[in-house]
């Protein structure tokens, strides 16, 4: 039994990594569920990469990296809505353009300065083993904010996922709610990148929520399962990283994506669990 707990009991940095991983699992599980239901996975991906130049610029001028990430996310969202509003291009074109553009801009900014060579890897893939209490505090705040908003706005969010027109006629302010949802995604990405990195945070948004969608038929249950899968992935990923010397952030994401495919394959052999009346 000690094999499964000792690394965390004996090392303060492993404890911090696990706490950070669980907090990130809460935020990404809840927000990821909303993203998956709303069919906006690609925008989440773009946001995750859009924060890179913001973080790089923040490092360069010496301000907190989450502030830079927030600015990057805002530019990304503003850019996507500007392109889709002013042109007839669909949002996936706008998202694709900005996503690659922001990624390239981030790499350019980092490459300007030779002392940042190591930071680029940390930003892209995370440095969960070096996560500090300040980052954990922000992760806790965002996890609480995201859970409260998802609870309070569950009805309009679900109606919007089914049919935005219906939500509008029902009296919900769809434009405002859309902005709230984007902000929730952006905040989640911004506090999560220190754990799994900007490239991999997308995996934490999609894999647990996607797995949960295979297993349950209610939104609340989907969020809870997603959070549990994410938290387990953080724990198992950190253990793998400890014993096998794998990169920690990538191990966490690999576990969560591995769970998705295990469930997918398992369901092929247990067809009775597929859509039928009894509810979760």
């Amino acid at each position: 039994m000690g094999v499964l707990t000792d690394p965390f009991v004996q090392n303060a940095f492993m404890q911090r990594a696990l706490i950070a991983g669980i907090l990130v699992a809460i935020a990404t599980g809840v927000v990821g569920t909303l993203m998956v239901l709303r069919g906006m996975a690609f925008l989440g991906d773009a946001l995750a990469h859009g924060v890179l130049p913001g973080i790089a610029a923040a490092l360069l001028i010496g301000i907190p990296s989450f502030l830079g990430a927030l600015v990057g996310a805002a530019v990304m969202i503003g850019g996507v809505s500007a392109v889709t509003r002013r042109t007839r291009l669909s949002s996936d074109v706008a998202i694709g353009l900005l996503f690659v553009g922001m990624l390239a801009l981030g790499v350019v900014i980092v490459s300007r300065s030779s002392e940042f060579a190591g930071s680029l890897t940390d930003i892209l893939f995370g440095e969960v083993l070096g996560v500090g209490w300040m980052a954990i505090l922000w992760q806790a705040v965002v996890a609480v904010v995201v859970v409260v908003l998802a609870y309070v706005l569950q009805r309009p969010f679900l109606l919007m996922a089914m049919d935005p027109d219906q939500a509008r006629v029902a009296g919900y302010r769809v434009g405002v709610l859309e902005a709230v949802l984007l902000s929730m995604i952006a905040l989640t990405v911004v506090v999560s990148f220190s754990v799994v990195g900007t490239l991999l945070v997308f995996g934490m948004l999609l894999a647990p929520a996607g797995t949960a969608a295979l297993l349950v038929r209610r939104v609340g249950a989907m969020m809870i399962i997603a959070v549990l899968i994410g938290a387990f992935s953080a724990y198992a990923g950190l253990l793998l990283s400890w014993y096998l010397d794998f990169a920690a952030g990538a191990s966490i994401v690999l576990v969560s994506i591995g769970i998705f495919f295990v469930v997918l394959v398992a369901q092929a052999f247990v067809p009775s669990r597929q859509p039928h009346p009894e509810h979760a």
Partner: protein, 265 residues
């Protein structure tokens, strides 16, 4: 005088600056049913979406219970022409109908016995009580349509905007729908439905016949004349029961419009 549920003054509806239907003038009082009749693409849905506040009017005036459409003075239920079948989770029919009660209970207010009663009554009225536990994705087109219709009914709205409510319904379900329309009007609700079913429209208080313009507007007896229907649809068969039937509209029927054909207004 009571505030009209819907009032249109020389209204033009459409997309952006492009008007699809122009010159709509009508006053609809609470308890009245307006049937908007026309072919596919005639502007029926555009009109409904404008009244729902989903589209701005191109020109002219439209008010709903004395206010701008889209400003919530009264409760509105809207049945869209198509329903997104692609929702990820297999929601149960009853849960979909329950969503109709959400606007009455704020963001997190729990649904109570009143709501359950309204949901049960709506499902019962449309004959789908036995489908309550079925996931929406497992239903046929007509069953699914009745679930969405029940959602609109459960809302107990002052104004019902129904876009092709009878599409996919069998004869028995149509009868249920028609009797539901009677009881909705009896409780004082106003209904606007878009349809190409002339028999359904004959039951309404007011008919708006459109074909990218207003062909006629008024009580069904005045509007649903062979001449006006020919204008809207192309071909009309008159039955021996005195009823009128309209062939499904297609462009191959265009030869029925002779060059000297006059339009009635």
């Amino acid at each position: 005088m009571t505030t009209p549920a819907v009032r249109c003054d020389d209204l033009a509806v459409g997309y952006g600056r492009h008007a699809v239907v122009t010159g709509v003038d009508l006053v609809l009082l609470p308890g009245q049913w307006l049937a908007v009749v026309g072919t596919n693409g005639s502007g029926k849905s555009t009109f409904l979406r404008t009244v729902a506040g989903l589209l701005p009017a191109v020109r002219g005036g439209v008010s709903v219970f004395g206010g701008d459409p889209g400003v919530r003075g009264a409760s509105i239920a809207y049945l869209a022409q198509s329903h997104s079948a692609g929702f990820l989770l297999p929601l149960r029919s009853r849960d979909v109908v329950r969503m109709g009660r959400w606007p009455l209970r704020g963001l997190v207010g729990r649904l109570g016995p009143d709501d359950d009663a309204a949901v049960d009554a709506a499902m019962d009225a449309l004959g789908i009580s036995d489908l309550a536990e079925q996931p929406l994705g497992a239903l046929s087109g007509g069953q699914c349509q009745r679930v969405h219709l029940a959602q609109a009914l459960a809302r107990a709205a002052d104004l019902l905007l129904l876009d092709e409510p009878t599409s996919g319904l069998d004869a028995a379900s149509r009868e249920r729908y028609l009797s539901v329309m009677d009881s909705e009007r009896a409780r004082g609700a106003c209904v606007v439905s878009a349809t190409h079913d002339v028999r359904e429209a004959a039951r309404a208080d007011l008919v708006l016949l459109v074909a990218e313009r207003v062909i006629a507007c008024g009580p069904p007896g005045d509007v649903l004349t062979p001449r006006a229907l020919a204008d809207a649809f192309g071909v009309v068969l008159s039955g021996d029961t005195g009823g009128l039937a309209v062939l499904d509209p297609h462009h191959e029927h265009d030869h029925d419009h002779g060059p000297g054909h006059s339009h009635t207004h």
